[in-house]
Assembly symmetry: C2
Homo-oligomer: 474 residues x 2
Amino acid sequence: MTKKNEPLARLDGKLTMIGFGSIGQALLPLLFRHFGLKPADVKIVKPGEDRSGLARELGVEVIPVRLEEGNFAAVLEPLVDKGDFLINLSVDVSSLALVKLCRERGALYLDTCNEPWGGRYDDPGLPPSRRSNYSLREEVLAWRLDKRSGPTAVITQGANPGLVSALLKQALLNIAADTHAELEAMPASYEDWAALAQQLGIKVVHIAERDTQVAKARKQRGEFVNTWSVRGFVDEGLQPAELGWGTHERHWPADAARHGFGSDAAIYLKRPGIGTRVRSWTPLEGPYHGFLVTHAESISIADHLTLRKDGQVVYRPTVHYAYHPSDDAVLSLHEMAGKNWQLQHRQRIVRDEIAEGMDELGVLLMGNPKGAYWYGSRLTIEQARELAPANSATSLQVVAGILGGMSWALCHPDAGLVEPDDLDHRVMLEAAMPYLGEVAGVYGDWTPLKERSPLFDEEKDEDDPWQFLNFRVA
Amino acid sequence: MTKKNEPLARLDGKLTMIGFGSIGQALLPLLFRHFGLKPADVKIVKPGEDRSGLARELGVEVIPVRLEEGNFAAVLEPLVDKGDFLINLSVDVSSLALVKLCRERGALYLDTCNEPWGGRYDDPGLPPSRRSNYSLREEVLAWRLDKRSGPTAVITQGANPGLVSALLKQALLNIAADTHAELEAMPASYEDWAALAQQLGIKVVHIAERDTQVAKARKQRGEFVNTWSVRGFVDEGLQPAELGWGTHERHWPADAARHGFGSDAAIYLKRPGIGTRVRSWTPLEGPYHGFLVTHAESISIADHLTLRKDGQVVYRPTVHYAYHPSDDAVLSLHEMAGKNWQLQHRQRIVRDEIAEGMDELGVLLMGNPKGAYWYGSRLTIEQARELAPANSATSLQVVAGILGGMSWALCHPDAGLVEPDDLDHRVMLEAAMPYLGEVAGVYGDWTPLKERSPLFDEEKDEDDPWQFLNFRVA
Ligand SMILES: NC(=O)c1ccc[n+]([C@@H]2O[C@H](COP(=O)([O-])OP(=O)(O)OC[C@H]3O[C@@H](n4cnc5c(N)ncnc54)[C@H](O)[C@@H]3O)[C@@H](O)[C@H]2O)c1
Ligand SMILES: NC(=O)c1ccc[n+]([C@@H]2O[C@H](COP(=O)([O-])OP(=O)(O)OC[C@H]3O[C@@H](n4cnc5c(N)ncnc54)[C@H](O)[C@@H]3O)[C@@H](O)[C@H]2O)c1
């Protein structure tokens, strides 16, 4: 396993980072640690000066520009050339536009979220389908169709989306080993992985995350507190709730819709993810209500784990996020919901003021007779601080995914546009492991029907605990 | 107005208090202040010793007994005699059983919640209607039918239920004055009040409460934190959501039911109140999501404000609670919901450790053209501490209601069983006012349709903002 201070890969060109918020700051020191870069090799593009002081402290130049559709090419072309690396850690800057630019310039690219230009997520003039991650992904896939090679662009490679695609593959292998399932060789294609998931009886996959980090100072009235981007969270939280839709599902949600184009691997609900609760489980939290916030991995994992026979879909798990953000973020959402999703004026991303807590982030695989299997990272704030400066547990898990994605891209510089599911999970995990704290795999007998309150009748399907109907909180 | 240290009425007999939790402790010192009682005149009955130390400090004897159906008469008969006062501030002790005992003994009675014997609220073998406050009230009213006089028993007279019935009457008078409505004389009967409410166009009444009190120490995992009884809150929170059902309502909720007996003033939803969110508004909080927790006042106010013509109901407002408990209580509910309403093992009622905040508790009257009118108490923790020992803002508002109820009972000792709506609101407010902090009446242009997010379609009735459909959070 890579040690924390070992170089992962060598970047000989320059690196430009767009955005320098909670993730950008968290990544910067590790760029020097792992990729043989020197401060002069790195530039940061963001609107306004860096108020964190970290860029100056590390000797990195900040170019204080807000990228927009009209200026991004002019700003970036002088910075991004053949062999260079563009890392996009901003909000409101179109991933596809940057990918195209990098392709023209011959540069590598990575982001942690497939973003559109600002104003699309919350344009009520657009139908929900157009505001979905599904449609953003389909636009990227459509563009990729005739370009299977070229400068590598890794999209949506953070923790989730990102690392969780690797955790999922490892989790499938772990269940196979633990249940002595027949496995002739390491799966090598999507179909192999899908066949393995089917063989193991996996019907549902959650990205099951419980963030218990809390700062000393409580959330104040009119304030949104989060452990990572408030804007990023609110943007995705107000997109429609989206989920990969499994072949075992028998109850079509009354508020659901299909997109009518593209892979058809996922559906959306006509409501925001931060207004949609689902039952889930992590080993340390136990059962909890999480928010069904849309994420790229809900769609890409479901798509990649689809099996077809004679053109018909015969297997696909249901896949979605079940996010229990930090307590102050839960309260922030509650307040925001009460104000019809008007974002609070004050926003606070906590990091150095975090007093305690951990981010328990993993994949939860359900359907195998051995029980629900959670596999993931338990990273405490103390561990995160010991492992890297300028991090919380949340940001370091994201950075762990980025490191894997970057080193993969540097070793495969002509792979074209790839998603986390396209990457070798062993490379990802090797790069990430030193930063994940305890990585645990735990079986539980939890199901969404377990120990339901007998006080009120609820609509449920007792015949199959793994129906989405049973997960959803009515 | 009564000054804070003035005697309210004289109690010449003895006083027995059942229960000595957050409300009992809050009331005890004020008994001496306002009713000419001495420590030797008061006894407390509760299970186990008083661990707060307050009873000993004030020189009051504690009789350490858990009252049950089988022992309550034997325990209480030696303590309760003609001219005495029994104050019930416990949970799980039947109000009706105590009322009957007091009637036999010739003693006065008051409680702040119409409680059944333990085990009824959460008996899944009982249909929801039997677990409702509606049915508890109907049982009391049925018993009262042939006993219109006799020793006064004031039931459900705390803050809410209790004081809010008086605030509502004053609010009606305030709106009448502010809108120059014709008002020939002070309303003297239920019909008069109902006619006034109808005349003013009131369609909906919320008990709109936002508690912002927070302790220094945050809620821990597996802990329920509240500013008053955790047991009391969870008990009522797991009863069906109940609301007085107004004559203007045009949309029957899919999960609603009528009881099929009694006044028919209220309906219930087949789900717990702490799982049911509604939109509401207070002047300081602005719009918020509250919990539609069942309360006696939702039913009694709706019943008392009903107008009939030729036996047909022609007017009734919709009445319910919209409770935004303290932030840590919101988080406690969220955690508990995630665990299928299994109550956390650890419970903490905060009082002396509260660091800041206020209880903003009032009635919100909607439908008058001048706008939504909130009238109520804004009591900060600092004010509460200055006004009385052993209190939070929440408990002192409850005590304020109790003081009014007790003094009314002492002045009207032969009124039989009465509800808050039966009491003279002027007497109530005069007794309570010194303890309510700022009492404010504020108009707002808020409606549950105001500034809805345009991002997703929601089922709503644009023709009448005051439909329950528009208040309910789907
Ligand atoms: N995949 C994952 O696991 C994961 C996790 C966390 C965050 N993210 C994503 O990473 C991105 C960054 O997150 P964060 O927490 O650092 O966000 P942040 O809000 O803390 O920082 C965003 C940064 O982008 C900059 N920015 C905003 N608009 C810009 C523009 N037009 N041009 C250039 N820069 C601009 C801001 O100034 C800021 O420096 C977001 O897209 C977020 O969704 C992904
Ligand atoms: N109307 C209102 O505004 C209002 C507001 C707050 C509380 N309340 C009600 O007041 C009551 C007391 O509230 P609290 O916050 O003081 O509750 P608490 O939980 O703090 O205290 C309850 C007390 O009752 C005692 N008790 C429990 N079971 C008993 C039994 N079988 N026999 C005798 N005593 C018993 C407990 O030992 C404790 O002393 C509850 O019914 C609550 O619903 C009403």
